[in-house]
């Protein structure tokens, strides 16, 4: 079906990268040297951030999340402002802008003002390397995965700045937790990514997508352990609910956000969603085949596939948030160091062996299916075995209270933990 293949013609709407590339080419001829870079940067910003991220933040991150969590909690969610409450995020934004931005007297004013601003910048930068389509990637740099990990580690510093600057003990607690958690979770996250990189032998995001397209398999099947580690590590670094200890509202009020109000808080809130969308986009690109969908991308615009996948991935974040309680900080640390790190190392060993076998034996490419099977089994075995080794015994947990029919004194639990009378 060559007629349906995406061409590089500028009028092929299925890939908007063609159009913008053509436009930039024209401009490059017409304008003096260098100006085109500035225009390209602006265009990229508008294309990725203003057209994609901002509406996603508002309508998926704010409205969709509130609505979905509302349904999870058996209530309606926003339904007053606009049709189906769709204008709620805009109303929220207007409200936030009108609110007075309070500054505590003893706060470090410079840091406090700087933190939300610095928090926004990496979020914009992250979307520069995400491929939305075959030609729809703003900066297809060869080290995009490292770039993504590097840039996504900057907001942690910002949260620290925010927490420190308030001179508030709750904020300091939050900041301390963020710092401690980042140190712990960066490590398994990078190790997990290493497994992926070993398979694809590339650090670029676009090339990772193309590799998956070529092999006709998604990396989530080849690297289930890395995917799990990525998901958990990302939700930890994003402060999403099972791991939102940095702003745990039932413990330390709002952590590093305690003293923020108005749009300063709004920037943090909005960008938190932005980072979550970026993480979802990254996860989709690396593990779920990016803009490909087993051939469907020939008919449907790839960027639509990509956005759909990203939102589905984001739904996972919403889902966990609506369902799970929060872990304690020491449990999170223990989980990262004692569980995720060994598992990530094990994953690395497995992948390295497979890769070596693949290269040395010059095996056929279809061997990846065998690898996928092996890795899925290995993942299940590793998770189960290691958790048993760490003392995970669900069968010993009581499910129901004991029942006695007569009042009296202490009823001892017998040796099997199932006391009865």
């Amino acid at each position: 079906m060559p007629a349906f293949l995406i061409t590089n013609n500028w009028y092929d709407f299925r890939d908007l990268g063609n159009l913008s590339g053509k436009l930039l080419d024209l401009l490059d001829d017409a304008l003096p040297f260098g100006v085109v870079y500035v225009i390209a940067a602006l265009l990229g910003f508008v294309a990725s951030f203003v057209i994609f991220v901002l509406p996603s933040q508002l309508f998926v991150g704010v409205y969709g999340e509130r609505k979905l969590i509302g349904r999870i909690q058996s209530r309606y969610g926003p339904n007053r402002v606009g049709p189906f409450g769709l204008l709620q995020p805009i109303a929220d934004a207007i409200k936030l802008m009108q609110k007075e931005a309070l500054t505590p007297t003893s706060a470090d004013r410079a840091l406090m003002y700087l933190a939300p601003i610095v928090f926004v910048a990496p979020c914009v930068l992250l979307f520069a390397v995400i491929p939305f389509g075959p030609n729809m990637v703003f900066a297809d740099i060869p080290v995009a995965i490292v770039y993504f990990l590097a840039v996504s580690s900057i907001p942690v510093l910002t949260t620290f700045m925010a927490g420190w600057s308030h001179n508030n003990k709750y904020s300091l607690f939050g900041a301390m937790r963020v710092v401690a958690m980042t140190i712990s979770y960066e490590l398994p996250l990078v190790l997990g990514m290493l497994g992926v990189v070993l398979f694809t032998a590339t650090l670029g995001l676009q090339s990772t997508v193309l590799w998956q397209k070529e092999m006709d398999i998604w990396l989530v099947f080849l690297q289930p352990l890395a995917f799990a580690i990525f998901f958990l590590g990302a939700s930890a670094e994003l402060n999403r609910t099972p791991t939102d200890i940095a702003e745990a509202e039932s413990e330390i009020v709002a952590g590093y956000l305690t003293e923020y109000s108005g749009m300063k808080w709004g920037l943090f809130y909005g960008m938190d969603i932005g980072y979550a969308i970026a993480a979802a986009a990254f996860g989709v690109t690396v593990f779920l085949g990016g803009w490909t969908f087993f051939g469907l991308e020939k008919w449907v615009p790839p960027w639509l596939i990509f956005i759909g996948k990203t939102y589905l991935f984001y739904f996972l974040f919403i889902w966990t948030r609506g369902t799970l309680p929060r872990l304690r900080i020491d449990q999170l640390m223990t989980f990262a160091w004692k569980f995720m790190l060994p598992i990530a190392l094990l994953n690395l060993v497995i992948v390295a062996t497979e890769r070596m076998f693949w290269v040395e034996e010059k095996a056929d490419d279809s061997i990846v299916y065998a690898f996928a099977l092996i890795n899925i089994i290995a993942a299940a075995a590793a998770i189960y075995g290691w958790s048993r080794a760490l003392g995970y015994r669900p069968e010993n947990t009581p499910q129901k209270a004991r029942l006695v029919s007569e009042a009296g004194g202490f009823v001892p639990v017998d040796a099997h933990g199932e006391g009865s009378k």
């Binding site: 909690q73 607690f173 499910q399 006695v404």
Partner: protein, 369 residues
């Protein structure tokens, strides 16, 4: 980490305005990193001198006050107080009145435990989902209260010698419908939380109290039962004809926050059973005996207690033959359950302290009175 790296403890104020203190309640904790080395409670922000006020009002006028101590269990509070006055004045209650009282007290226990379970899971960090589910069911109980007494929260329904009004005609079908739905709801909450690894990690082994300690600290209710002591005043010292109903006392295993949680869940099941039986065997006849409004009980004293949702809810009333109580003392379960807070929190982390506080299920209106 603590112990190897030297650090200076610093004081953290949890409250008075804090999302998890369930009201205006404050714990001054001294923390070393995240670990609590000392905890001190500061309370009284909601003190309204109920016991003093009660000395100026007649016995009947005091019933609404008892609504406002533990505002999440007003029916139980009413019941404890009227039982004390009836004991003091030697007033009998007709069978129907007693049965209605049992129904109301047990419905109130369900509503209150819904709140307790929901707020507790909120304290563990579950992002509002269980609490909203619990509120959904609690609303239905409150609808029944509204149907019967006209009020949802502060019902003021019990009277000395019976209850204020007879049950309306639509009460029974509505209650039966609720009773049919409640076990499913309890299973749902149990399915959401009891097998949840994160929830278990947060609550198992947190705020441990041995049976010995729990007794010595005068604890009562689910706190005591969570520690493995089979003590329920409905069984031990039946009032309002509780001896007629078939139910069991749920008790925990090791006395941690999780045990209190499963004890509460099981108590809701038992309450459903009791209401079912009471409704099936609802006797006819009057719902109340006639008691003069200006009641003057003979001089003496009476201590009556009921098994409230939070524990032993006692009322100590002294009469000097006057129209108002000479002394009116409430034994507030959540106040006394707090006495072991320091034992439970010291050594844990700040997050644990919040979970412990949630597992005590405090109501600040009752603590401060």
């Amino acid at each position: 980490m603590s112990g190897i790296i030297k650090s200076e403890p610093f004081t953290l104020n949890i409250g008075p305005q804090h999302p998890s203190t369930h009201g205006v309640f404050r714990i001054k904790v001294k923390v070393d990193g995240e670990r609590i080395v000392d905890a001190e409670m500061v309370m009284g922000y909601l003190h309204r001198a109920m016991e003093k006020l009660a000395e100026e009002r007649t016995y009947t006028q005091n019933i609404p006050f008892t609504d406002r101590t533990d505002y999440l269990a007003s029916m139980s509070n009413n019941l404890g107080y009227v039982l004390a006055v009836e004991k003091l004045a030697g007033i009998g209650v007709p069978d129907r009145g007693n049965a209605i009282r049992v129904i109301m007290a047990e419905l109130q226990r369900i509503a209150s435990h819904c709140m307790a379970v929901g707020a507790f899971t909120n304290d563990t960090g579950a992002w509002q989902t269980p609490v909203m589910w619990c509120f959904r069911e609690r609303e239905r109980v409150l609808d029944l209260f509204e149907m019967t007494s006209g009020a949802r929260l502060t019902c003021n329904y019990m009277r000395i010698g019976g209850v204020a009004f007879d049950l309306p005609r639509e009460f029974e079908p509505a209650t039966r419908k609720l009773l049919a739905d409640l076990p499913g709801f309890i299973d749902e909450i149990e399915g959401l939380l009891v097998g949840n690894e994160i929830f278990l990690a947060r609550t198992r082994g947190v705020g441990m109290l041995s049976a010995e300690t729990a007794t010595n600290f005068s604890l009562s209710g689910p706190m005591l039962r969570g520690s493995g002591i089979a003590w329920d005043i409905r069984k031990a010292d039946p009032y309002c004809g509780y001896e007629k109903y078939d139910f069991q006392i749920p008790i925990g295993y090791q006395g941690d926050a999780f045990d209190r949680f499963i004890v509460r869940l099981e108590e809701m099941r038992q309450s459903v059973k009791i209401v079912q039986q009471a409704l099936d065997a609802l006797p006819g006849g009057p719902h109340s005996t006639h008691v003069p409004l200006a009641l003057r009980p003979p001089a003496g004293e009476a201590y009556a207690r009921v098994e409230g949702p939070r524990g032993e809810l006692g009322y100590y009333v002294v009469s000097d033959e006057g129209p108002s109580p000479y002394r009116f003392h409430i034994r507030p379960p959540s106040f006394i359950n707090l006495s072991a807070l320091k034992e439970m929190t010291v050594g844990g982390t700040v997050a644990d302290a919040i979970v412990v506080l949630g597992s005590i299920d405090i109501v600040v209106g009752e603590i401060d009175r």
